[in-house]
């Protein structure tokens, strides 16, 4: 599966990359919201994983950009340190498909991603 990851924290990005590559996914790395949106067309990812607080464009803007471009396909998973109810609600209202909070468990992420992969095959 082709996964586009948007995350501005270097270490966090490294950890995500380790894990997802090992699970056999192709990982496209972007360091901010704008880069993520720009690379959507170029790479046509099957899944987008994004942080919320990033330079240029926030993760929420990435969500609405993805949903605007691909109204039916390309699920978006949010991986953010903000776990408060209103933020989570806002993310889902904008069309996010899944929400994980930091600190996150890499194993859990791996399982959740696999679930999207299966539904894509179907």
């Amino acid at each position: 599966m082709k996964i586009l990851v948007a995350e501005d924290d270097q270490l966090m990005m490294k950890m995500l990359e380790f894990r997802l590559r090992k699970d056999g996914h192709e990982v496209i790395i972007t360091h901010d919201g704008r880069e993520a949106v720009q690379k959507l067309d170029e790479f046509q990812p099957d899944l987008v994983i994004t942080d919320i607080m990033m330079p240029y464009l926030s993760g929420l803007e990435v969500v609405s950009a993805v949903k605007k471009k691909y109204p039916t396909g390309t699920p978006v998973v949010i991986l953010s340190g903000m776990g408060q109810e209103n933020v989570v609600l806002e993310a889902f209202q904008l069309g996010a498909d899944d929400y994980m909070t930091k600190p996150f468990s890499p194993n859990e992420l791996s399982v959740r991603v696999r679930r999207f992969n299966m539904s894509a095959v179907k």
Partner: protein, 474 residues
């Protein structure tokens, strides 16, 4: 003893006394700055700002960005303001009667609509033409206000009226902020327990020659042009040494109009920014401090030394001259409207130390320097070369250079923004050149500013249209 010799001695000893006081000030500023900076850096080393960014319990903040004819850059700047890390944030752009298409551009890009809006006129301002909000939920933080032209102070007052937050941050629309700028600026307000923090100032750094992309700083470079380079040194000296030292004493008088946070409640209680002065940033802080002193409530003006705000500095002598002229006028106007505090023990440090320091070293210094040098040159031509006086002056200049080098060292030891050895050597070189090339010009502009102010009071005063570029006093 003839009157000429008497004058000569008076002159020589005057300069000597002045330079001794200056030396003492430099030493104290250096010492206090080291103490305050060390404490700040230690605190910062284990502060997790991400925690603050993620919390919904933070007090609300509004960014007030007045814009006058900023059309070409406004979209990018707003975008970068919207992406700042802070949860309870509101970004208020105040279009101060721009004559270009700024408003139309904003309406189009951010899908704005004109909202029915009741403005609570806590502070009297020029009329507001309309308040715009975005129909796109992603931009719910954005408020755009369109008003009649009234200058920077008036625009900021409209912003203060509209803001719904506990604190507001005023910035120049052309500034580039670091992503975590607001978190760092909010911290002093949150940490206060015994003293109320009424305002927090931030550092302004010079962005000329830096790589900026989409309203964001990508790489820091030392400016290549001479004037911005010298101003880089000037800003480092002002922010890392002087402001830090004054913060330690809790006597800070000036928060740069380009980047500072304020307690909205107190600003409203004081009546907001004054449109009667060209130095509204300094005037407001002085007025707020005075207000708190008169209430006899413990308070503090905080200062954050991290480089958080970057701005273009003037690169021609013409613009620089105008800027310094305005700063001089702003200083005098502020000092004049608060002259009651001059050596008034009722106002504590503010009255006994900060105000007199500004009076003698910010307001009088250029005048003394100007006429002192003039007198010396005259004497040397008319009578004989006065080696003693010249030597003392050389000493003062060397002292100034030493102070600059010390400032550069503080920068290297703390934030170290200029990584290359070449850049540091350039800064030192500039420090040596400054007293001969740059400083006389600055002094001259300040003297002209004084003169303009006196002249303006005799005539009707100029009624020029008010734009507000470069109003950031250092």
């Amino acid at each position: 003893m003839s009157w000429q010799t008497f004058l000569l001695h008076l002159f020589t000893y005057g300069i000597l006394l002045y330079s001794i006081i200056l030396l003492v000030c430099y030493l104290l500023i250096g010492a206090f700055s080291i103490m305050e900076t060390r404490a700040y850096l230690h605190k910062n080393s284990f502060t997790d700002y991400r925690m603050l960014a993620q919390s919904t319990e933070t007090p609300s903040m509004s960014i007030l960005a007045p814009a006058y004819n900023e059309g070409p850059t406004i979209i990018e700047n707003v975008r970068s303001l919207l992406s700042l890390h802070y949860h309870n944030l509101e970004v208020i752009i105040i279009n101060d009667g721009s004559k270009d298409d700024s408003l139309e551009r904003l309406i189009e890009v951010y899908s704005l609509y004109k909202a029915d809006y009741f403005i609570n006129q806590c502070i009297k301002t020029k009329p507001v033409r309309g308040v715009y909000r975005s129909s796109n939920p992603v931009y719910r933080k954005l408020v755009v206000v369109d008003k009649e032209n009234g200058g920077k102070a008036d625009a900021l007052n409209v912003g203060v009226n509209i803001a719904k937050s506990d604190y507001f941050v005023c910035i120049d629309a052309d500034c580039v902020l670091e992503q975590d700028a607001l978190l760092k600026l909010a911290k002093p307000f949150l940490e206060a327990t015994t003293q109320r923090v009424i305002a927090a100032g931030g550092v302004v750094r010079i962005a000329n020659s830096c790589e900026i992309e989409g309203g964001r700083l990508v790489k820091v470079n030392l400016p290549k042009q001479f004037l911005p380079k010298i101003q880089t040194l000037e800003y480092i000296r002002a922010f890392l040494l002087s402001r830090m030292a004054w913060t330690k004493l809790n006597g800070l008088l000036l928060i740069s109009g380009a980047f500072g946070a304020f307690d909205r409640e107190i600003v409203i209680a004081c009546g907001g920014y004054s449109s009667k002065t060209v130095g509204e940033d300094m005037e407001l802080v002085v007025r707020m401090r005075r207000y708190m002193e008169e209430l006899e409530e413990p308070y503090k003006v905080a200062f954050i030394p991290d480089p958080l705000c970057w701005t273009e500095a003037p690169s021609t002598f013409r613009i620089l001259g105008r800027q310094r002229n305005r700063w001089a006028r702003g200083t005098i106007e502020t000092l004049r409207s608060h002259k009651k505090m001059f050596f008034n023990p009722r106002y504590g440090i503010l009255g006994m130390l900060s105000y007199p320091y500004w009076f003698f070293f910010e307001f009088l210094a250029p005048i003394i320097e100007f006429f002192g040098t003039l007198g010396l040159v005259y004497y040397c031509f008319k009578y004989a070369i006065n080696w003693e006086a010249i030597l003392i002056m050389a000493g003062v200049i060397c002292l100034g250079i030493l102070y600059s080098v010390f400032a550069i060292m503080m920068e290297v030891l703390t934030y170290h923004q200029y990584k290359q050895k070449r850049e540091i050597l350039h800064l030192v070189l500039v420090a040596i050149l400054e007293p001969f090339v740059f400083h006389p010009f600055v002094v001259w502009s300040a003297v002209v500013g004084n003169f303009d102010l006196i002249r303006k009071h005799n005539s009707w005063g100029e009624m020029t249209r008010q734009g507000f570029a470069q109003n950031k006093q250092v």
